[in-house]
Amino acid sequence: MSLRACLCVFMVLTAAGASMAADSVRVGSKRFTESYILGEILKQTIGAAGEARAEHKQGLGNTAIVFEALKSGAIDLYPDYTGTIEKEILKSEQPLTLAQMNQQLAPLGLAVGIPLGFNNTYALGMREAQAQQLGIKTLSDLARSAEIGKLKFGLTQEFIGRADGWPGLQARYSIAVATPQGLDHGLAYEAIAAGQIDIMDIYSTDAKIERFKLRVLADDVAYFPKYDAIIVYRQDISGKYPNSMAAVQQLAGGIDATHMIRMNARAELDALSFADVAREFVAARPASGQTTTVSATAPTRAKQSFLALLFGEDFWRLTRQHLMLVLASLLGATLIGVPLGVLAAKVRQAAQPILGVSGLIQTIPSLALLAFLIPLLKQIGTLPALVALFLYALLPIVRNTHAGLTSIAPGLRESALALGLPALARLRLIELPLAAPTILAGIKTSAVIAVGTATIAAFVGAGGYGERIVSGLALNDSRTMLAGAVPAAALALLMQGMFEMAERWFSPRGLRQPD
């Protein structure tokens, strides 16, 4: 393929990814069960209003990425929590009212509102039976309990370390307990059910609270900051889609903590898809006038065989997205990386900067790189994912091109010079063909790495197998994770095989090992 043809393909692929769906309401969500479900509820609510197509960019990397996506207009609204807005986005020391938050968000063209009706804060929980027996309903009850010395505390390291966690809590309620035991949140539920610990820290809407029959102790002096679930949205959305926004307004106060816990449990424990959980909720709303329970008909993940999960309806879409991300970024990295490698090999002063910078890029964590690219490119989705993958794919290609060119035997280099070939002709006719096997090996390395790295595209809503891995992580569901990881691994092996065949084709015959 000629250089120009390659460039055209690259640009078409990039544009196709970037320009998808401009005329719809785009909902975002973060990478944990509750956010996925709320995102789906928003999407279905807007869809039901019948005014605009609704799209769900689900499981976006973290608060920084989702917020940048909202600011840049890549999404129109997403669910968040007052405490997060306060601390992570507005960096406020004091609690803020919704009006105060809106005052600060207005210059960005953003607004918060529509409190959904529950507070997902830190809390302490204990077994319902034991709580009843000891007569403990609130944190003050706990601190006053005669049995406090005998209760075993098992808290997460993060909770023990956070200023708004254990140290402040212990002081505020004067809880007379020595050092609590630190353990993983995922293990704590099993530990408390087995009686190994008696008190654990929880997020107040955790799915397992109900399942493990835990009592959430009331924070009776309001120590914990409020993490009221609210919607963050772009101000222009109400003007563009008034009916859709009116429908979303109807959600205010519609989800209490018990309801949210139950929905989280439907996804995490009953293995229902996020969309199905949301469908149950939307159908049960008084406005809809019907009461459908999805569980009777919808296949849950637990009931599906792994193969059915693997080749689920999204399989081809994810495969297509994953392949597009890998191939387009690889093509770009080759078109830019090989010339950079040549430059590094030919211009001594350029070698260190070029190799240094492409090495440095590798050390940037993918989430940080994405969080940096989104405001720069003013969008989420395919383009920032492609740019990140392109940057990560550069190093092996640049380094191998440089190594392949600089390791050509001096005798051959001189022979080419002595023949009277100009520099460009030497590069084209002699040096690049001699370095070709090394350069191809570099592209192969980049391709295999890109297949693995492309799973980060899910953080910015660009799809690919990472979507399954990310939602599997949120659900703590290893089968869903594997349904994403297995095809990614298979694709990496396939890539490797294809490149080994390409090496046979493209390596000059005289350079191959004799058969």
Binding site: A418, G420, G510
Partner: protein
């Protein structure tokens, strides 16, 4: 005609070539000889512009070598190094025809020329499709020579061309080279450390030591009128291998 005027070269602080003035007469074969590191290869590489001299100038047919004319001057010089210096990714034919094709010769002309060169260098035409790794040392050297001769340059430079060959092949190729030199009448400069080869091939010998020319002249001159003890010693050390000059008695 190649002329070196006041050429010198230093690497770091070390003088590898003392200021030298040399002329290589047209149509004759000059052999540069001396112990390893005496500067003979450096001298040859300066003629090709592969190494820049610190002082002096190189004149090819009266024209001084410059950065601007170096490429066209190289097209008038054939260069052969040890083991042929063939590009491993190209077949023998593609090695030989590389420069001509780059200069847009039409393919018929390329083929005619290659056929003539096969005859001259006594290379079987069936070997042309092979890669360097599939050729013997002697065959690689013949292909290297053909590549150097492709444009029919007036000047040929050889840097230890037969150094890597076994004695039988080497002797065979020495005879062929001598015949080719006699037939083509090119200006030839050949670097070797083998006195036997120098005596056999050279019309003129330039004996060097530690970057300086010690003596130049015919073999007879060097034998009969050595400039100093080093010359006698250098020739004497290899003399038993020169039966024609040793009088056949040991």
């Amino acid at each position: 005609m190649i002329e070196l005027r006041n050429i010198s070269k230093r690497y770091g602080g070390r003088e590898v070539l003392a200021p030298a003035n040399l002329r290589f007469a047209p149509g004759s074969t000059t052999v540069l000889i001396g112990p390893s590191g005496c500067g003979k290869s450096t001298l040859l590489r300066i003629v090709l512009g592969l190494v820049q001299a610190d002082t002096g100038s190189v004149l090819i047919d009266g024209q001084a070598l410059t950065a601007a004319n170096i490429t066209s001057v190289r097209h008038r010089i054939g260069y052969v190094i040890q083991d042929g210096g063939l590009f491993p990714h190209l077949s023998a034919l593609d090695n030989i025809a590389l420069l001509a094709r780059y200069l847009s010769w039409d393919e018929a002309r390329v083929q005619t020329r290659v056929a003539a060169l096969c005859e001259l260098a006594q290379l079987e035409r069936s070997l042309l499709a092979r890669f360097a790794s599939q050729l013997s040392g002697g065959q690689r050297q013949r292909v290297g020579l053909m590549r150097a001769l492709m444009l029919d340059p007036p000047i040929l430079l050889f840097d230890e061309p037969l150094g890597a060959l076994d004695p039988l092949v080497r002797s065979d190729l020495q005879k062929q080279l001598k015949a080719i030199f006699a037939r083509l009448k090119k200006t030839v400069v050949l670097v070797t450390h083998d006195m036997n080869e120098a005596a056999f091939l050279g019309d003129q010998i330039v004996l060097m030591r530690a970057g300086a020319v010690v003596q130049q002249g015919s073999v007879e001159d060097l034998l009969r009128r050595p400039a100093d003890a080093f010359v006698s010693e250098f020739i004497g050390a290899q003399r038993s291998h020169l039966p024609a000059m040793s009088g056949g008695r040991t």
